[in-house]
Amino acid sequence: MSVLEIISAIFLLGGAIFCVIGGIGVVRLPDFYTRCHGAGVTDTAGAAGILVGLMFIAQPLVIVKLVTILVFLWLTSAASSHALGKAAFASGLRVDDEPIDWTTGLSAHPPAMSDEELAAEESE
């Protein structure tokens, strides 16, 4: 095994571990908004680790493609998690400090924007 292969293996292993951690987070975290953070881990560190690991064992031309995939993945993951979060927030999915009911995903607690904030906005 050459040095490059060892470096590549380290990166691949790190990326794989972050992928699985993010997957565990997506299953384990209590409500939708927190699960977005778990998905963020797989999309940023997992993808970066695996693609950078592949770069160390690739031909020069292939490296360009890998870099492009990485840039695309980072740009689109940020955009799509924002779109998801915004759509969920706009459709009234609650954001809570305490964990949410596992069966429904919604809870009976006050909405994200409290009544005081609503009143303040109305008076403006």
């Binding site: 951690i21 953070h37 881990v41 940023t44 492009t68 955009a79 924002h82 979060g85 927030f89 954001v95």
Partner: protein, 187 residues
């Protein structure tokens, strides 16, 4: 777009020609980048394939020009040089945040404390504010939910993530990044 102030006829002409020159630079940079992408993807140098590439690149640039998307938001070449400092900073921030979130997820008790917070975006341009919001979203542990009135609504996973956003380091960095953009494009 916002206020294009016109102090006088001569200044207007000068301003117009300066904007025209910037537009040409944008078209040129886009053409070069697209040509390099074509070459990297095909890696064939037969006249036919290269001819297809030339047609595709020229058509793309001409159509983008016609659609008016080659402006300072579509191809902000003024900040390209500053990306050299911004991107390593972003990668380091994202890695640090990844370790924090991974620690939270793997903890058996999962000591998360989700919260909403409002982060002030002091950027001058819309592009800068969007970069700020996207930087926050890209960092695991924080997601920007909304952006209006120079304020970003952020959902944070823990107190650590909250302090990271409220410390203003991100804001400073993005303000520095966008300070290369020309004046007169504010919203």
């Amino acid at each position: 777009m916002g206020s294009i102030r016109d102090p006088g006829f001569g200044a207007g002409i000068f301003r117009h020609s300066a904007m025209f020159a910037a537009g040409m630079v944008r078209s040129l940079i886009t053409t070069i980048v697209l040509a390099l992408v074509w070459i990297a993807w095909s890696w064939h140098f037969e006249p036919l394939v290269v001819g297809f590439g030339v047609v595709a690149v020229v058509l793309t640039v001409a159509l983008s020009k016609r659609m008016n998307i080659l402006d300072e938001e579509g191809e902000p070449f003024e900040i390209n040089i500053r990306l050299i400092r911004y991107i390593p900073w972003l990668v380091i921030e994202v890695l640090k945040a990844n370790f924090q979130v991974a620690k939270l997820i793997l903890d058996p008790e999962m000591p998360i404390s989700p919260r909403l917070l409002k982060v002030r975006a002091n950027q001058r341009t819309t592009l800068g504010q969007v970069i700020h919001a996207n930087t926050i979203t890209l960092t695991p542990g924080t997601i920007s939910l909304d952006l209006r009135d120079n304020t970003i609504l952020v959902h944070a996973l823990s107190a650590e993530a909250q302090h990271q956003d409220e410390s203003g380091r991100v804001d400073e960095m993005i303000s520095w990044l966008e300070s290369g953009l020309p004046e007169g494009h504010e919203e």
